[in-house]
Symmetry: none
Subunit: 142 residues, 4 copies
């Protein structure tokens, strides 16, 4: 299994932020987690609210821990809210089950980490993050 | 009260995993808890997401602590979500009230532990775990 | 980076337990964690006290999260107790800084997980676990 | 009060990492927090252990929340360990009272954030982080 290097993580963040500026989104925050859900890199744009690290991390953390990206998590939460609430209990309240949490896969399809983006609508967050992941030569799942 | 021995716990896990392979389920994780809700044995198949221990344990923990298997817990959660949320508060966020958490009973019907399985749909998780429990000569309640 | 497969984790546990029996140690419990500190496999021998999962996991978790095996953690705790107490706060109280928490390295020296053993003296726990790790063809650091 | 911009935070991190490479330190992790103790940016070098975010954040968080840099925190912990333990209770276990947590001040001396570095000895962590803060045209207190 390949790991996300710091260089790749930087590329993901910079390209996500560049895409956010191009889309004229609100100030964006982006985290990159490794395959174990641990933080590799994070940046918060000027003007973003102070609590954005936790939201970004929560979007990415649930994705990697469950092996389920933000859109699938949201579908499950819409269907069975008490299940995602329970999952959140198990993971110490660190799961934010909405788009903007993306799985990152290597060439063979193995999950090697996740990206969490937050600042604008959940769908816009996800769109920008996907551009960042692909700019790093990796495959994203929103 | 008979206890689940480590040998029995191993049998439960191996046979649950064998059944999962036969059913062609996604990578499975299985935990066996004792009558006090404490972990006896656990295995996570290659390819399962890293957070599966907590989900498996949460399914089994609620079962043994409440004396209520996963299907009954889910019925209660569907009816009265705030009750299961409150139970989760009491038990430190460790309860995942869906199928795949099975009670294990001895010959006289006493609860001697629980099994938690996670990886595929909740119903498939429960089906595989029941096969594992019965292969160990014990009675399961899904 | 190679991962510890479930097969390797099973070998580590079985050989640690076999060595424990040969050394006539008290009932042993052994956990294997992946490179992100997440549980791969665990077994608790008959007669062990119910709370052994948490101790085993705590020995291994601190090792992998800090990249520092149990003996080095203990040395740091002896020297600077408040530092290890603080680390424990950061990691949610999951760190048990004594021998019996061993790093597992691949052929190139990268940490690919950790083993936690508990039941007898900390030094005996570490001795048995090292035998288990080596039996799986991996390198341990106690 | 001037704030630490994302550009400044990036400079702090890059220059701290550059200094770490020049000093041939172990893989380093660096966080920059704002005046409210919230994460602005973080990077973890390849080869660092997965739990380094929490340690870096803990060093910086205590600094900004108490208005006391790592060296002063350590002195207090050496003198009165129970006080720092109590502080940790107040701040949710997020304080790591050793060098490598540096206050960042603006031209008038107001605290505008903190930097946390971890990877090598606490003193080396602090030395590298100070170089990073000064490279961004700010004043650090170790």
């Amino acid at each position: 299994m390949a790991a996300i290097t710091l260089n790749k993580a930087r590329t993901i963040i910079r390209k996500t932020l560049a895409k956010s500026r191009e889309m004229e989104l609100k100030p964006m925050s982006v985290v990159v987690l490794d395959a174990g859900g641990h933080v590799l890199a994070f940046e918060r744009e000027d003007g973003a609210s102070p609590g954005r690290f936790g939201i970004a991390q929560g979007k990415a953390y649930g994705a990697v821990m469950l092996g389920m990206a933000g859109k699938a998590q949201m579908a499950r939460a819409e269907q069975q809210a008490y299940f995602m609430a329970a999952v959140n209990g198990v993971y110490g309240g660190q799961v934010v089950p909405v788009p903007g949490g993306l799985l990152v896969r290597d060439k063979r399809g193995a999950v090697i980490g996740a990206v969490g983006a937050t600042g604008d609508t959940s769908d816009n967050d996800a769109t920008a993050a996907m551009v960042g992941i692909e700019a790093a030569g990796l495959a994203g799942e929103a």
